[in-house]
């Protein structure tokens, strides 16, 4: 029971209705931005923009070609942020959604550092700041609505469903039109799998997606954390042993000294 979204870049027109719907549903304020020389706006994800469309400009047979990519939290199967969070404010729910609980967060920002996709954002301009990231519209899912961005998408570039079903569908789409698609589903295996899945007409490298490998980012840290109890016990026992040995040595020396003293007195 893992909810997923399939994003098909060949169907996206870059209209950014998803960005607007996301802002509306989450009641996020508009913030002035600056023109950076592309159609992209806003230029970065931040606490007030939980999703955005990235416009990649490629040259294709001498013609300019625009390819779009929707960016937001990937809702990993093995999320780095959830493992990192000191107070467990970030949680991987049964339905696959990675939620964030303001009531627990202390604002340490380890989730931001630990995210392999660079997603969680922080309210840098507020005296009482929280972490902000896409929450998969968890409240809408709970009443059987689709996420705001999916509902609003006019071209069908976004599709919700069970992860396994969507993976099948993605493979079918590639098989039906191999010339149209790059033969890879980004998110199927990346960092151990993500809830958001991507289809693209060009390689994901060209689309600016990070090559993050297929191991969950949590593997090594989890291994180190499992060693904590034995290390704790081991060090405690070793140190007590050393203390016992040195004290014994000292006592033996004292006894020997006293004996030598008595012998001398006799």
């Amino acid at each position: 029971m893992s909810k997923s979204v399939l994003y098909d870049a060949t169907r996206c027109t870059g209209c950014r209705a998803c960005q607007v719907a996301c802002k509306q549903w989450h009641d996020l304020p508009g913030r002035p931005t600056e023109n950076t020389g592309t159609y992209e706006n806003p230029p970065q994800l931040n606490a007030y923009n939980l999703t955005r469309i990235r416009y990649t400009e490629l040259e294709d047979n001498g013609r300019l070609r625009w390819i779009f990519a929707k960016l937001q939290c990937m809702h990993c199967e093995h999320p780095g942020c959830v493992e990192a969070c000191i107070v467990g404010a970030l949680k991987k729910q049964e339905n696959g959604v990675v939620t964030y609980d303001e009531a627990k967060c202390i604002g340490c920002r380890y989730c931001q550092v630990a995210c392999p996709f660079g997603i969680p954002c922080f309210e840098w301009d507020k005296p009482v700041p929280w972490i902000r990231k896409c929450d998969f519209c968890a409240d809408r899912l709970n009443i059987d609505l689709k996420p705001a961005c999916v509902t609003t998408c006019p071209t069908g570039a976004l599709k919700t469903g069970e992860r396994d079903d969507l993976l099948l569908e993605a493979r079918e789409r590639i098989a039906a039109a191999p010339a149209k698609y790059y033969d890879h589903i980004y998110g199927e295996k990346e960092v151990g799998g993500t809830s958001w899945l991507y289809l693209s007409p060009v390689s994901f490298d060209e689309l600016g997606f990070a090559d993050v490998g297929t191991d969950p980012v949590t593997v090594n840290a989890a291994r180190a954390m499992r060693l904590v109890p034995p290390v704790l016990l081991g060090v405690a026992v070793t140190m007590t042993g050393i203390y016992w040995l040195t004290r014994r040595k000292q006592k033996m020396k004292q006894l020997a000294d006293e004996k030598a003293k008595r012998m001398a007195e006799k």
């Binding site: 493992e83 627990k104 920002r109 550092v113 660079g118 301009d125 929280w130 840290a221």
Partner: protein
């Protein structure tokens, strides 16, 4: 003593000024948010405070547990005289870490959430619990100095209390305390390394290795005695008390062995991962690696292995200073320079970020200065209080 009185007001005035200067950005932070006083961003959420105050602060406080273990568990009683200052600076180091976090955290008023909402999978949770507990342990380890001072005090109410009682209690639990301190230090010195294990994609492969926790622990053990030598030299210069030269050069003798092991671990690890060539090919970031290794490992191993240099006051001091500098270099490398940012961002610490860290260090220096004046800390004081 007259020298002290003339020398210090100026130094103290400068320190006080730095502390007050640091208060300004702290106030701005609580009114306008972290963005107003720092250059931190979503691309670089952890900056100068985490690298300097947390990563360097905790490592440089390692003198506390290494010396406590050496004196009380290994019973090298010759080193007793430097254990108390080491424990004091360790305690202040940890206090600084906590104070820095009160600025760095988004919700410092909820810092206690770490105690009630456990995420036992988070290396940061381990660090938080160990730092909290170990700060209490250090306070208790240092408490005899305070009780001894109170015992001799002539203040009206204070002198009526029998301060021998808490002293006896402390004495009874001293060894368990020291053992607890070693256990907690081992855990969180290494788990600062585990924290970085969560960044396999962003930390550069020259530094990212599954054995980071072991490397962190090993370098902390090496910098412990180096920091004690460094501080003893500084305090003997400023407080004008006698320097325990043979004790310090004894500590200096241990450093090359620990650093040698550290270097061996680092090179073996790079070799085992098949990435040894990176230290030659990855220009320019390999310069950072060579820098930290040359300054903090190779040079000190050479210098402190030579008996003549080790027994020379300046030689020992500079050897130890190199170890300290190299460790700071290493911690900045792993937590900042070699940790890539989100695309489209850049970071250079804001002057107010630095001002807050400087203010905290100045804070600690004032407390150290006061402690040397009011509490039995140095060898002469301790001898006097034992006789008295």
């Amino acid at each position: 003593m007259s020298g002290l009185k003339r020398r210090f007001p100026l130094g103290l005035a400068i320190l006080t000024f730095l502390v007050l200067l640091g208060l300004v950005p702290i106030i701005i932070r609580y009114v306008n948010g972290l963005g107003a006083i720092s250059n931190l961003s979503d691309g670089r959420p952890w900056g100068f405070w985490i690298s300097f105050d947390l990563y360097c602060g905790v490592a440089l406080a390692a003198g506390g547990f290494t010396l406590a273990a050496w004196v009380y568990l290994f019973r090298r009683e010759k080193y007793h005289a430097v254990a108390r200052p080491a424990i004091l600076t360790a305690f202040l180091g940890y206090t600084l870490v906590i104070l820095a976090l009160l600025v760095d955290l988004g919700q410092p008023w909820y810092i206690w959430h770490a105690i009630i909402y456990w995420n036992i999978h988070s290396p940061l949770f381990e660090v938080a619990i160990c730092v909290m507990t170990y700060t209490v342990v250090l306070a208790l380890e240092f408490s005899p100095a305070v009780f001894e001072a109170l015992n001799k005090s002539n203040l009206p109410l204070v002198r009526r209390i029998n301060w021998n009682m808490p002293l006896h209690v402390q004495h009874a639990i001293q060894i368990p305390l020291v053992i607890a301190g070693v256990v907690l230090s081992t855990l969180h010195q290494s788990s600062l390394g585990s924290m970085l294990l969560m960044m396999p994609e962003t930390l550069h492969p020259i530094w990212y290795t599954p054995i980071l926790p072991i490397l962190f622990f090993c370098s902390a053990v090496a910098v412990g005695p180096a920091m004690v030598i460094f501080e003893a030299n500084i305090s003997s210069m400023t407080m004008r008390h006698r320097l325990e030269k043979d004790i310090l050069s004894g500590l200096g003798r241990a450093i090359p062995y620990i650093l040698g092991l550290y270097l061996l671990l680092k090179l073996t690890d790079l070799g085992a991962r098949g990435e040894l060539s990176l230290i030659f090919s990855e220009y320019p970031i390999n310069l950072l690696w060579w820098g930290e290794i040359t300054i903090g490992v190779i040079l000190p191993i050479i210098l402190l292995s030579i008996t003549k240099i080790r027994q020379n006051r300046a030689g020992l001091f500079w050897g130890a200073t190199l170890v300290v500098a190299g460790l700071i270099f290493n911690r900045f490398n792993v937590s900042m320079f070699a940790l890539s940012m989100r695309p489209g961002y850049n970071y250079f610490p804001h002057w107010m970020e630095v001002a807050i860290s400087v203010a905290l260090v100045a804070d600690a220096m004032i407390v150290i200065w006061l402690s040397y004046r009011l509490l039995p800390i140095s060898r002469e004081d301790m001898v006097a209080s034992e006789k008295g």
